[in-house]
């Protein structure tokens, strides 16, 4: 694929735009730390349209850039933990389990939250953050389902574009 760098740039730009769009959506449902994770849509699509290496690079680039633009060092740390755990689980499930894109995305959403929770528990040195676990599990399931559904549709429409 000769245009790999160009497509990677487009993916990073899209992921950044989604991060920005998400800050404008008033998706506050009273539970701290719960958001849609629109940027993960791009990571899911990259995982299916390219390969794990590209998706990993995209995920890290996205987190670091959006962290510098919209967040701070702490938010980079949390996003990175969530993003890496999520991507690892998604890549493994995509390869070894017979799941659809929606199922992989649901697992990704759930493990994104688990990764962040673990970092939070380490940083603030308390285990009481785990009281959020059930809430974050269900939240990850719902957001993962939404992202997975949208990703399914997008990948279906992108099938003529070969990014490998």
């Amino acid at each position: 694929m000769k245009n790999r760098v160009a497509y990677f740039g487009v993916f990073v730009a899209l992921a950044l735009i989604f991060s920005y769009v998400e800050t404008m959506i008033p998706f506050q449902i009273g539970i701290p730390g719960v958001k849609l994770g629109l940027a993960n849509l791009i990571v899911v699509i990259a995982l299916y349209k390219t390969d794990v290496k590209e998706a990993l690079l995209l995920s890290v680039t996205r987190v670091v850039l959006s962290g510098f633009i919209f967040g701070n060092l702490a938010s980079i740390l949390y996003s990175l933990a969530g993003g890496l755990v999520s991507l690892a689980v998604m890549a493994l499930l995509k390869k070894y389990a017979d799941l659809s894109i929606i199922g992989v995305s649901v697992a990704g959403g759930v493990f994104h939250n688990i990764g962040q929770l673990v970092v939070a528990a380490i940083v603030v040195e308390t285990y009481s953050v785990t009281g959020y676990l059930p809430v974050l599990l269900v939240a990850g399931l719902i957001t993962g389902f939404v992202i997975g559904t949208v990703a399914t549709e997008m990948i279906r429409r992108l099938r003529n574009i070969d990014l490998r």
Partner: protein, 121 residues
Amino acid sequence: MGLKKKDLVLMGIILCIAAVCSLVHHFTGEAGKGIVAIKVDGVTEGTYVLTEDRRIEINHGTNILEIKNGEASMIEADCPDQICVHEKAISADGESIICLPNKIVVEVESDKESELDAVMK
């Protein structure tokens, strides 16, 4: 494309784990009115009883915690996201309010030490 059977199994398992966790948290978390412990950066700054209404300045005034009607809530914080201020008031054992930017943890603890050790989370 669309949902496969295994997708539904996966979601079912996740929901079951969530339900079990919240049940465990619910049943072990009910220990009546206790005390709140305020920790800054992992170090306990002080403990206060929930039965006595008062306001507490944490971290030289970056956050203000209010104890009222047996519940504790963060009413002021200097951080930009204000997540801890928007959290609901806490009263049950094991509940917590966390302010990540200022590394503050406000946690309800039972007055009985042995029950705290039994909390499974």
